[in-house]
């Protein structure tokens, strides 16, 4: 730990000077749009000379670089004995300190631009999420790795008897980052995965972009009459082609859309999950992925609160499942960490076992909620829709909506029926298991020892019908069994509380 002491002697540090360039260019990306608008706008005015225009552009540029230089100057961080401190802000200063034992996990992210400069963004995850996390943008890869090591070593130190504050854990054997590979996705698997990640987000993006740059187009995009007129030339010919050709046209249009969706899915998946590797290192699970933006996340194994196995409506036919860990730290704005996004069940089992859980066995004693709960839920969703449908029947303009609403109501009732069949829960000696969902079921496995509170809730209807909901306080996620019989819920709560009380929070198994 000599490096940490040296740093403390040096005191405060700044992030890497190249960060000025990287953030400057990053900000410029946001400024490009107003700049384009300014360019086109000035064309309309015509009076502005080229010189003035260049001056404006130069000013924007200067403002940008100056701003990022100033914020670089005004940002400093300190890795001290007990916490990580960050001070930043040009006009209003902001000082933040995060104690080591609150840091859940240190993640390293590398976007395309920082990568060209060999820089990374380091984030200290505390579980508050989003903007409130302590972030360092950007430091060198080595500094990032070093910070991660420092935090980990500091975190482990207090676990020893606190008799002498100087007691440091015995240094782990060298090369602690070389772990055993648990899961990886070769390119073929990745493309296969992408095929199931059908996404029409590109259509939405195109639409939004069109709306943004509409003023540049020589015609009004939303002028329907104009479109009709434009179509009346070739469109007349189109209409004359007859029913079969129109059907073919529709088919081609849908096929194009489907192809677009699949290609988007593949591209997005390849960009996000390229070279996906999950390793088990002495410090926990380490996941690396990404083609343009590389991320490197390490989750300590004992911080995994629960594991979730999910699937999709289509992919389940081929037996593809995804595995994610629930923990307090956040993974790109989501509470769950993807650890194996596309794998067969047999591949998932060893990973789950490494995290200290096991997947439901064939002889698991599953229970269903009270059928009354499902009946009430079906009534609650179906009856208002049906009434709205009946109301629609009274007016000629809205008559056509009624069958649609009736169909939705029927679907809701059918869905509740199937949910009653599929959703289940179980409590065995060491775990709490639930299965949710109908077409794309999701199984969550949690350990009762890692729960923080247990609540039994009952609404007015539930009280009359004699069922209740059992809600667990899980760090970083939700876990609830709905519609249980009260005796059953109380028995389960008793069992869970016993296993919580048996293990003290401070001595949870690692």
């Amino acid at each position: 730990m000599s490096t940490a002491e040296e740093e403390i002697a040096e005191g405060w540090q700044r992030v890497h000077p190249y960060a000025v360039v990287v953030t400057g260019i990053g900000n410029l990306k946001q400024a490009i749009f107003p700049m384009v608008i300014a360019l086109f706008g000035s064309q309309g005015v015509g009076g502005l000379g080229t010189g003035l225009l260049l001056l404006i552009l130069l000013l924007i540029l200067l403002f940008n670089v100056g701003g990022s230089w100033l914020s670089w100057r005004k940002l400093r961080y300190l890795v001290s004995e007990s916490d990580v401190r960050l001070e930043q802000g040009i006009i209003s200063r902001q000082a933040r300190s995060v104690p080591y034992d609150r840091i859940q996990d240190v993640s390293i992210e590398q976007g395309l631009l920082p990568r060209l400069f060999g820089l990374v963004e380091v984030r200290f995850e505390t579980g508050v999420g989003g903007k409130d996390e302590l972030e360092l943008a950007y430091v060198t890869m080595e500094e990032g790795e070093r910070l991660r090591e420092v935090v980990r070593d500091q975190k482990e130190a207090p676990a020893l008897p606190v008799s002498s504050p100087d007691a440091r854990p015995v240094e782990e054997p060298a090369a602690p980052e070389r772990g055993t590979l648990l899961f990886a996705m070769p390119p073929a698997r990745l493309v296969n995965f992408g095929l199931f990640e059908f996404s029409l987000v590109i259509v939405a993006i195109l639409g939004a972009t069109l709306q943004q740059v509409e003023f540049l187009l020589p015609f009004d995009l939303w002028d329907l009459e104009g479109w009709e007129q434009r179509l009346s030339g070739p469109g007349q010919w189109l209409a004359g082609l007859g029913w079969a050709s129109q059907a073919i046209g529709l088919f081609v249009a849908l096929a194009t859309l489907a192809l677009l969706g699949i290609v988007t899915g593949v591209v997005r998946t390849v960009l996000r999950d390229w070279d996906f590797r999950l390793e088990k290192t002495p410090k926990g699970f380490r996941r690396r992925r990404g083609l343009l933006t590389k991320t490197d996340v390490v989750m300590p194994a004992h911080r995994v609160q629960a594991v979730t196995v999910g699937t999709g409506i289509v992919r389940r036919v081929w037996g593809w499942h995804s595995l994610s860990f629930i923990s307090l730290a956040q993974d790109s704005r989501s509470a769950n960490h993807d650890v194996a996004p596309f794998a067969q069940m047999a591949e998932l089992e060893p990973i789950v076992a490494e995290a200290g859980f096991h997947l439901p066995a064939a002889d698991t004693d599953w229970h269903r909620p009270s059928p009354k709960y499902r009946i009430d839920a079906a009534m609650f969703s179906a009856i208002p829709i049906t009434i709205a449908g009946i109301a629609c029947l009274f007016f000629e303009q809205t008559e056509w909506i009624a069958p649609v609403l009736f169909a939705i109501a029927l679907f809701e009732a059918v869905r509740q029926h199937f949910l009653w069949h599929y959703e289940r829960h179980a409590v065995d000696a060491t775990q709490i298991l639930t299965r949710r969902g109908w077409l794309a079921p999701r199984t969550t496995v949690a350990s009762p020892m890692k729960l923080h509170s247990v609540e039994i809730a009952q609404g007015p209807i539930a009280r009359r019908r004699g069922y209740c909901h059992l809600v667990f306080g899980l760090a970083g996620g939700t876990l609830a069994f709905n519609g249980l019989k009260l005796e059953e819920a109380e028995a389960m709560r008793c069992g869970v509380l016993e296993s919580i009380a048996a293990v003290d929070f401070a001595n949870l198994p690692r």
């Binding site: 923080h452 009952q458 609404g459 009280r463 306080g473 509380l497």
Partner: protein, 158 residues
């Protein structure tokens, strides 16, 4: 067994909590009563058309409901867990083991201070029930409970 959450064996809250609840409801009611008075003075309808129903409804709300809410609440503290029961319509029965408490607050608003009562707030790491509030305790009781629970709260490692 009655399929409803019961309050048997629970410790009731401090009776002055009813008064606090009543005053709080009264404060909510005041603007409505003022509105009704304005309606009366404006003389839009016959005398008492606004004031009588508003005052009737709110006197019911101020007198009856706080008592019912008070009766629906209760807690049970054992040597390793706290149970908090609350809710008139939507019953909630929460148990927090002391070993999972992150930190503890005793809070007191101005009204609560006037009546010498306080709120005990237990914070947990769970996303659901991140803070469990137990209002209407005698302030001294709340402080004693805080000290008792604090003895159990171990250093956080999770």
């Amino acid at each position: 067994m009655d399929p409803r959450l019961a309050n048997e064996g629970l410790t009731p809250l401090d009776p002055s909590y009813v008064t606090v609840l009543r005053i709080e409801t009264l404060l909510i009611a005041l603007p409505f009563v003022a509105g009704a008075l304005a309606g009366e003075i404006g003389g839009l309808l016959f005398t008492g058309a606004f004031l009588v129903p508003v005052v009737l409804v709110f006197s019911l709300l101020v007198l009856m409901v706080p008592l019912k809410r008070f009766n629906a609440r209760g807690y049970d503290i054992s040597d390793d867990r706290l149970r908090v029961v609350r809710g008139l319509m939507f019953r909630k029965d929460t148990v927090v083991p002391f070993s999972r408490v992150q930190h503890i607050d005793v809070e007191q608003g101005p009204l609560e201070r006037a009546f010498g009562i306080g709120r005990l707030v237990l914070h947990t790491a769970g996303t659901h029930n991140a803070s469990v509030v137990l209002p209407g305790l005698r302030h001294e009781t709340a402080v004693v409970m805080r000290e008792a629970i604090r003895g159990h709260v171990k250093r956080e490692t999770l």
